[in-house]
């Protein structure tokens, strides 16, 4: 069982988000002055940014063309370094593999670094159901774990919450602390979370992290964080499990640094994230620290199918979140409206693949095709085209149905028959003009109720251009 999707009710979910004044204020605070401005700043300090994007696109395409070879090389290098690689065909297999490793380690508590893949496979619920307590150690993930929520953003899971809401959550959960303590400032919140987590880091039997990428030539996995929690999760417990998906492999260390140069700048405007951790295999006899056992779980979960499909380009994604940060739809709906793990444009391409287009057909439709996602994507994924590809599949399966489909078919019928189009629409426009009279816009019109709920609908000027032109008007 993965997270139960609520993509079908995307519009109802979005409606709730639009009515949530706290959420809207939070989005207004964080998106434009936060992510968008920071990306511009990050780019401005890197003159070769555009060339790096081309190089990264080409690198990822090369990897996708030779995925099998690089994955096998990675496995061989991990084994050489004293680790193990586990191949997981789907979410069930991945969960079973991870649970087994935890059980063999007699784990009671596992600490977790931030990992979207473990969200994709709903790992926490599975571990908890088997008596193992998962503790998220990334601050944002820790907050949403306390609130039993999904991340609302792939790099900032608690983006939807103000610091006041976080303070409320901490007071509800950290009941052993003085209820009257002052949590009005962000550093205080951070300090409290750090104190709570310190105990967990030391007590954990297994540490589970994701991997932003992994390197075939050395068998090295890479995580980037700003809090250092990934390092503590990865190096303190006796067992480290890293979970990643197969398309995140890169051939060499140089290739990894190419992606790292783009990733932080595009995501947060930083030249580098505060921690860039490279880890290879298990602790060697002379190493001062590190896990005694290292396991790398590589998840397919349908990515092999994507590779052979019209959605192949999405496998270039390095999960920077730029498409999300620049999406006008996400900017007003936030992430939970999307109804599953991955929000925004990248989510609207990935989610239908994981939960099925019948469940998720609303998501690829929820785009104005403004193209800003493609404009900012560091690996130049043609996101609007991929969303359109899903609309083609959705249309073949009857989405949209009902009146929307009927309306489209009527329009198409006219558009294909110019003479009929002229006659019918001349009449139609005449009627609309008569309804409007001297008014320049409608406050309401049958069939346009959605539009006119929030704005007027401008009325036709009167007569069609082609009729008037045909009568000699110039």
């Amino acid at each position: 069982m993965t997270h139960k999707p609520t993509c079908r009710t995307f519009q109802e979910n979005a409606r709730k988000a639009l009515d949530d004044t706290r959420l809207q204020a939070q989005m207004a605070r964080t998106i434009k002055d936060g992510f968008q401005q920071k990306r511009l700043k990050g780019m401005s300090r890197l003159p070769e940014y555009e060339a790096l994007r081309d190089a990264a696109r080409d690198l990822k395409n090369h990897v996708l063309d030779h995925l099998d070879a690089y994955l096998l090389r990675f496995e061989a290098e991990v084994v050489k370094a004293g680790g193990q690689v586990h191949w997981a065909r789907d979410a069930d297999e991945a969960r079973a593999i991870i649970l087994k490793i935890c059980q063999e380690a007699n784990a009671k508590t596992v600490t977790k670094g931030k990992s979207m893949i473990t969200e994709e496979i709903a790992l926490n619920d599975h571990l908890a159901a088997h008596g193992i307590e998962p503790v998220e150690t990334d601050l944002g993930e820790y907050i949403i774990q306390l609130r039993h929520e999904l991340p609302s953003h792939i790099i900032a899971p608690a983006l939807h919450l103000s610091k006041e809401q976080v303070a409320e959550t901490f007071k509800e959960n950290h009941t052993h602390l003085n209820a009257d303590r002052d949590l009005s400032e962000a550093p205080t919140l951070l300090k409290e979370a750090r104190a709570e987590l310190r105990e967990k880091f030391l007590a954990a039997d297994v540490g589970i992290t994701g991997a932003n990428m992994f390197i075939a030539e050395t068998g090295t996995a890479v995580i980037v964080t700003n809090e250092g929690n990934g390092d503590l999760t990865q190096s303190l417990p006796p067992v480290h499990i890293a979970v990643s998906s197969i398309e995140k492999v890169v051939p060499t260390l140089d290739d990894a640094t190419l992606l790292l140069r783009l990733l932080a700048r595009t995501a947060t405007g930083q030249e580098q994230t505060v921690y860039n951790t490279f880890f290879t295999g298990a602790k060697r006899p002379d190493d001062p620290d590190g896990p005694q056992d290292f396991h790398m779980v590589l998840l397919d979960n349908g990515r092999s199918e994507l590779l052979a499909s019209e959605f192949r380009d999405i496998l270039r994604c390095i999960r920077c979140g730029a498409c999300i940060n620049h999406c006008p739809v996400y900017g007003v709906t936030s992430g939970h409206a999307y109804g599953w793990v991955y929000p925004g444009p990248v989510g609207s391409v990935l989610t239908p693949h994981f939960v099925g287009i019948d469940e998720a057909h609303q998501l690829p439709g929820a785009s104005t095709f403004c193209g800003r996602c493609e404009e900012v994507c560091p690996v130049r994924i043609p996101l609007p085209q991929l969303l359109r590809n899903w609309r083609v599949r959705a249309f073949q399966r009857g989405h949209p149905g009902g009146l929307q489909r009927l309306g489209l078919k009527i329009w198409v019928m006219f558009a294909k028959r110019p003479a009929l189009y002229r006659r019918a629409l001349s009449v139609g426009i005449g009627v609309l003009k008569r309804i409007a009279g001297k008014r320049g816009a409608y406050r309401w019109l049958p069939g346009a109720g959605g539009w006119t709920k929030t704005r007027d609908l401008p009325a036709p000027q009167g007569g069609t251009f082609l009729d008037r032109y045909g009568r000699g008007e110039r």
Binding site: Q11, A14, R15, L18, K32, P328, V329, G331, V332, G365, A366, S367, T368, F369, C370, G371, R372, E374, E375, W390, R391, R393, F395, Q396, P400, Q404, L408, K409, W411, V412, A415, K416, P418, R422, L425, K438, R439, G440, A441, A448, G450, W451, T452, K453, T454, R455, D456, L457, P458, A459, P460, Q461, T464, F465, L466, R468, Y469, G470, E473, R474
Partner: protein, 266 residues
């Protein structure tokens, strides 16, 4: 108004480029004055303009709904109607982008039509792009005493690179000052059928957009795509704003005497 005084073409009349105006369904049905303005401007730019009567819609509603079969059928009609001309000019970045960028993609698996689609794409231009290349920019196009802000419609901006062209053209309007709005490249939330399929979200996006429009404190909001302009004009009207909304062609052609988009008749 300079409409009665078109700049003569550089060669003799027979050498003037034959330009077909694809007026677009929205202009045809909702705001013919944009079509007449485009006509005047193209003639002033020395073109011999034709308006093929077989034109309807570019097929974008079908294409963006995932209805590829119908989109291709409509595209074939457009190709047949317009392929005989030297140039096709479209007063919309969105419909222009459809022909220029998406028609060739649509026929990627159909060589015969792909060749024709690419030939048409190569001859098609969005209106302000054509005018910026062909008008004498040293001659004032028209007069407007006031200020304007210009919305970069997404398809024109990102599919066709329309950014400097409208601003170059607006610099030829005597008396007009341009004040750029904040977040000028942000989507207005129209998105064609998106605005009717996802009306609440579309409404929230256009609310943000028109907040920026009003903050620019101009007399006019201009743009190159009627769909976006109707969306923003409808929202501005609902907000009780005084900002008047016109297609850029109407201002360049000196046709701002009548009601603006969404404005009542006197």
């Amino acid at each position: 108004m300079n409409m009665s005084d078109p700049t003569p073409p550089t060669g003799s009349q027979s050498e003037a480029p034959r330009v077909a105006l694809f007026v677009t369904c929205l202009v045809d049905l909702m705001r013919p004055s944009v079509g007449f303005a485009a006509l005047r401007l193209l003639e002033r730019a020395g073109a011999k303009v034709a308006v093929p009567p077989g034109q309807t819609c570019c097929g974008q509603p079908a294409y963006n709904s995932g209805d590829l079969e119908d989109a291709r059928a409509i595209a074939k009609n457009v190709i047949e109607t317009f392929e005989a001309f030297d140039h096709v000019v479209v007063p919309s970045g969105s419909c222009g982008g459809m022909i220029i960028k998406h028609y060739p993609e649509m026929f990627a698996d159909d060589v015969a039509w792909a060749v024709r689609a690419e030939a048409l794409a190569a001859r098609t231009q969005e209106l302000t792009t054509y005018l910026a290349d062909h008008l004498d920019l040293n001659v004032p196009t028209s007069t407007f005493d006031g200020s304007a802000t210009y919305h970069d419609s997404c398809a024109g901006l990102r599919e066709l690179g329309v950014k400097s062209q409208p601003r170059t053209l607006l610099a030829t309007v005597d008396g007009l000052t341009l004040n750029e709005m904040d977040d000028v490249e942000a989507c207005c939330g129209f998105g064609g059928l998106f605005s009717t399929k996802y009306p609440d979200i579309s409404g929230a996006i256009v609310d943000k957009k028109t907040t920026n429009v009003e903050a620019a404190e101009t007399n006019l909001l201009l743009g190159g795509d009627l769909g976006c302009l109707m969306n923003m004009a409808g929202k501005l009207r609902r907000r009780g704003s005084e900002v008047r909304v016109f297609h850029i062609a109407e201002v360049l052609a000196g046709m701002t005497d009548g009601p603006a988009i969404g404005e009542d008749s006197a």
